[in-house]
């Protein structure tokens, strides 16, 4: 996935990526031999790690759960890295270019409270019951019905998302570097299949930590050099105000009192309840892709500390994502020295240049699309006449353009490695989580209940290969039917809200029953999918879903999730009251109030998870006040 913020959040800005395939232009960057060496060394390293760890992935516990021996730091970094995909980096840099600092909500309120809640409140239950997966927890709590619904929906989502990300990565590599689509898809997917297939979750986690370091090492220079050139934060602010004639680019909350008052078209209630609660808690506390990393921790304290450690890095991520987008607003230049204005992918695609004639294929369509932008009229004429250097670039290219601006040979290779690492960490997260859920929550209970441990490890390895093969198929499917991308990207937002309701009721209400869990999850998914299809078929319905005629598509996800959560909650509550609950004795280790949690050995305050959680909360509050 695009990481999280999860892919679906970035869908609005990235859903039109395939349109870029139609746009014939020179690649943004040309790599030199040194850059290719740097990228080659990265691939050699990830494969080496896979081979090195092969001997330590022989049992199910080792292959699927990394032996449950990760430290808090490794689990925490892997936890955020599995989510730090390149499409997220580029998509949110583009969103920052469009919407300003408002995009930071998806990193702060859209992540931090949920991560703290996972660490301090939910992790003990996941960890104590020794489940292999989130559907596995549902199995213990509600029985096989809820588990099967969750497992099938999750496995489907993972494998399709992996394919979509694979394709999107290949498009980016084509646009940025001119690489062939098939080459990018096969090289990256084979590398991921090799290192995850050999070393299992341990290899995925090791590589995610490596990828995390490389992402920061490759991307951090852009905001540093950009800030130097912009004259610091003061210079950046004054330049943006001068260029955009608005200071709303620096306010996260001030303009969210009405849908029409901010460029994103969102209201603070949607941000707080839809994004900050349902989507964020759904993703960070119930999506097995990320929870799996924390379950691999070597003890309960490490499992609780891991999300808290991860939250520090999540809070810092806007520095390498949002800031480059803002800097791009004032620093990117056309070849003639004028300010370069980025546009939407639909505009770029409408202005496709014919490779044969070198001119715009459909001038009327291009002109009409450009008329919807703020591009200066003179520049529009230059584009239409095919003047040298008069190119159009999309919002999603803000980060690569900034990289090309500051990174010369060697450093550019490192930056491109960072993007590739981001793609691969997300893809590895998808296939490793898919493998575990397929083996333990679908194959074992439904197909072969009595296999040996080594048999299930073999099934896990094969499922990685098959999963990657299906992902490649999905990638080509998307390439030939772009419309499918919207539906695949919607899967996360359709599943997440009912799943969150089912797990929260299961974990914190002893009265929630087996039938309630099953029906709440199933009907919640049906309800959520129906809302999605309603807006898809009748776009005007967005105003009803988001409760405002001024709402924009970005608001749909958060409000749809909110209604689906409430619907599933009502179903679970009502059905629970009408059906017989399990005896409390059967809920030990699964439900708050029915579980005696293990007493952790006392540690100095600076090693205590509550201390660091307080520090996170204070920084989180301060950042929101500073950028109010």
């Amino acid at each position: 996935m695009f990481g999280f913020v999860p892919a679906s959040h970035a869908a609005d800005s990235l859903g039109t990526l395939p349109a870029l395939l139609a746009f014939s232009t020179e690649p943004l960057a040309h790599l030199r031999l040194l850059d290719l060496f740097i990228i080659g060394i990265y691939f050699a390293m990830v494969i080496w790690i896979g081979f090195y760890l092969k001997g330590r992935s022989n049992t199910g516990e080792e292959f699927f759960m990394a032996g449950r021996e990760m430290t808090a730091w490794i689990a925490g970094l892997s936890f955020v890295s599995a989510n730090l995909g390149s499409l997220e980096l580029m998509g949110w840099a583009g969103s920052a270019y469009q919407y300003g600092i408002l995009a930071t909500h998806w990193y702060w309120i859209g992540a931090i409270p949920a991560m703290i809640f996972l660490g301090l409140v939910m992790m003990p239950f996941y960890y104590v019951c020794k489940t292999h997966s989130v559907p596995g927890y549902l199995d213990l709590r509600y029985g096989g019905g809820a588990r099967t619904v969750a497992a099938i929906s999750f496995a489907t989502e993972m494998i399709l998302m992996s394919g979509v990300n694979m394709f999107a990565m290949a498009v980016v590599m084509k646009v940025v570097l001119g690489w062939d689509i098939t080459f990018s898809i096969f090289v990256s997917s084979i590398a991921v299949a090799v290192y995850v297939g050999l070393g299992g979750l341990r290899s995925a986690i090791f590589n995610e930590v490596l990828q995390f370091v490389l992402i920061w090492g490759g991307a951090l220079l852009v905001p540093i050099l950009g800030m130097i050139q912009a004259g610091g934060i003061g210079g950046l602010k004054s330049k943006i105000i001068a260029n955009m004639h608005s200071d709303s680019y620096f306010h996260m909350w001030r303009d969210t009192g009405h849908f029409a008052a901010n460029p994103m078209g969102v209201h603070w209630t949607g941000i707080v309840f839809g994004l900050g609660f349902v989507i964020s808690f759904g993703y960070w506390t119930t999506d097995f892709l990320v929870v799996q990393r924390v379950l691999a921790a070597h003890n309960l304290r490490a499992a609780r500390m891991a999300p808290i450690i991860g939250s520090f890095f999540k809070m810092a991520t806007p520095f390498i994502v949002i800031l480059p987008g803002l800097l791009g607003l004032v620093l990117l230049q056309n070849p003639d020295g004028s300010r370069r204005q980025l546009v939407g992918e639909d505009v770029v695609a409408a202005c496709t240049v014919s490779p044969a004639s070198g001119r715009i294929e459909n001038s009327a369509a291009c002109s009409a699309e450009m008329a919807t932008t703020t591009l200066p009229a003179a520049y529009q004429q230059k584009v239409l006449s095919g003047a040298p250097g008069a190119e159009l670039h999309s919002y999603n290219q803000a980060l690569p353009l900034m990289m090309v601006r500051y990174l010369g040979p060697g450093l550019l290779g490192l930056g491109i490695t960072a993007l590739i690492a981001g793609f691969m960490s997300g893809m590895a997260g998808n296939v490793s989580a898919f493998s575990t859920v397929w083996t333990y929550d679908i194959y074992r209970p439904l197909i072969n209940k009595h296999g040996s441990d080594s048999h299930y490890v073999l099934v896990g390895r094969l499922s990685i290969l098959i999963g990657v093969a299906v992902s490649i198929g999905a990638a080509y499917l998307v390439m030939h039917a772009h419309g499918i991308m919207d539906y695949v990207q919607a899967l996360f937002s359709i599943f997440v809200a009912p799943l969150l309701a089912t797990i929260l009721f299961g974990m914190f209400w002893k009265r929630a029953t087996t039938m309630a869990g099953f029906l709440g999850l199933l009907l919640g998914i049906v309800f959520s999918a129906s809302l999605f299809m309603w807006v898809k078929l009748v776009p005007a319905a967005l105003a009803d879903v988001a409760l405002s005629p001024d709402a924009k598509p970005m608001a749909e996800n958060v409000y749809r999730a909110l209604w689906a959560f409430l619907f599933a909650s009502i179903v679970i509550f009502v059905v629970s009251l009408l059906t017989k609950a399990k005896p409390v004795a059967e809920l030990d280790g699964l439900v708050y109030g029915a579980t005696v949690l293990p007493v952790e050995a006392p540690v100095p305050f600076y090693k205590n998870e509550y201390t660091w959680a307080i520090v996170v909360v204070v920084i989180f509050a301060a950042l929101n006040i500073i950028f109010w």
Partner: protein, 73 residues
């Protein structure tokens, strides 16, 4: 990580050290020959030299601290 032989931090150290040496080396060459890439901004800051050095030193620290066979406290 416990009980799995070579630490992940050693692998990270190796790759950072390698990258650091390559990038710093190129940066020094670039500085000496003044052969800066034409479209890249702020070349006067000699970014490959100092950023490559930072990566290399960080990598060296991890390689030494987490080298195989050394007990990590």
């Amino acid at each position: 990580m416990h009980g799995s032989g070579v630490s992940i931090w050693f692998f990270i150290g190796v790759i950072l050290l390698t990258y650091g040496l390559m990038i710093t080396g190129y940066g020094v060459y670039e500085w000496q020959t003044a052969s800066y890439p034409p479209l890249v901004q702020l070349t006067q800051l000699h970014t490959p030299v100092w950023w490559g050095s930072v990566l290399g030193l960080l990598g060296l620290f991890y390689v030494v601290k987490f080298r195989p066979g050394r007990a990590v406290s």
